[in-house]
């Protein structure tokens, strides 16, 4: 029993370590902003300042006088108007291994998307999900409003 327990423990620790490392890479940055902007990240609320790094799973919300422009690591530029909310559901950018994926879900507000390298290298891999449709973006400048 004891050796098995040890193996399981070590395996769990190794796995946890791998996952923690895998999560460590940021996926973008808040390049410019105005007014109040917050991010919900793993149960915490962060008041956004310019140049804050973004991570997969971040929910970005602009206030009644808030707006923000985000630059992802593949050069995708996402801009948000007032009272707008989105989540970066998936961001995978490993062009050399051909692992590419970008999924952004928008809940409400106004958005402008300037596509980057993921849409260029893998046109089937960039999706913007809204409450009523999925937009497949092959390029390059897309405006989306959700009332």
């Amino acid at each position: 029993m004891r050796p098995i327990f040890l193996v399981v423990l070590v395996a769990t620790l190794l796995l946890a370590g791998t996952l923690a490392n895998g999560d460590a890479d940021h996926v973008g940055v808040v390049k410019s902003m105005a007014g109040k902007v917050v991010i919900a990240r793993s149960g915490r609320t962060i008041i956004v300042e310019p140049n804050l790094k973004l991570f997969e799973g971040d929910v970005v919300q602009t206030g009644p006088n808030g707006k923000a422009s985000l630059i992802l690591e593949d050069d995708t530029v996402i801009s948000m108007g007032l009272n707008s909310r989105l989540v970066i559901e998936a961001f995978v950018f490993h062009p050399d291994e051909k692992k590419l994926s970008l999924i952004v879900r928008v809940f409400q507000g106004t958005f402008s998307f300037l596509s980057g390298q993921i849409a260029k290298l893998a046109p089937e891999r960039m999706h913007i999900k809204t409450p009523s449709v999925t937009v497949g973006v092959r390029g390059t400048h897309v405006l989306i409003q959700v009332d």
Binding site: S32, S69, L114, G116, V133, R138, T140, H141, V142, V146
Partner: protein, 221 residues
């Protein structure tokens, strides 16, 4: 009421009063219901529009849900969708003015696309003359964008061992970082990474001298 001589008339008036009160409530409830329906259908409405990018090019998009899909590949075409079970409407033309107004706030904050520069090396950490001449352009881009997030990524060709090249790519990245810092760029805004020979611009076999792979990429955001 009992002493009123014309109860029928009064009764009639009473009925009418009651009726109009009742009707008022019905009308109000109906209006409320309509408002709620309208609001909840509005709550799901999505507008999707394709516009030219800052370089004047227009790409293409597909707008899809369980009821169907539409493709858009021309500028200033838009579709609206009210409900996920409703097929996206056939694209219609929307004036630039209309879209500029709806998206005024989002567009007013929109960042410029990042710029990528490739700096090449003659040997070891000595920059090629043409690449040296690129430095003022990089500094200008950093200033113009007020960039606080600059990537400097070192690479090598496949000449030499992997370990040697890893070290060399690191030194190349640090060389470029130093050059930027000497020009007044805040070192805290520069993220230096190095990849050795693993990510060539021009794929090659081992031990191949390839000038285009001896490089540092600078990304200004």
């Amino acid at each position: 009421m009992r002493i009123v001589p014309h109860p029928v008339t009064i009764r009639g008036i009473h009925d009418t009063l009651e009726g109009s009160l009742y009707m008022g409530i019905v009308v109000r409830l109906t209006l409320l219901f309509l408002l709620i329906t309208l609001a909840s259908s509005c709550a799901k409405r999505t507008l999707v529009a394709l516009v030219p990018d800052p370089d004047g090019r227009t790409g293409s998009i597909s707008v899809l849900n369980e009821a169907g899909s539409v493709a858009i590949d021309a500028p200033y075409l838009a579709t609206t969708i009210g409900d996920p079970k409703e097929r996206p409407a056939a694209p219609v033309h929307l004036d630039k003015k209309v879209l500029d107004k709806i998206f005024a706030e989002a567009l007013s904050i929109e960042s410029k696309r990042p710029l990528h520069f490739q700096l090449y090396f003659v040997k070891k950490t000595r920059l090629a003359h043409d690449s040296e001449k690129l430095l003022p352009e990089i500094i200008a881009a950093i200033r113009e964008r007020k960039s606080a997030y600059i990537s400097v990524i070192g690479h090598t060709d496949t000449l030499g061992t992997e370990d040697w090249n890893m070290e060399l790519s690191k030194n190349r990245a640090l060389t470029v970082k130093d050059l930027l810092v000497k020009q007044g760029v805040d070192s805290n805004t520069i993220w230096t990474t190095y990849r050795g020979q693993e990510y060539p611009m021009i794929p090659s076999g081992d031990n191949v001298w390839e000038p285009r792979n001896r490089r540092v990429e600078v990304i200004v955001r």
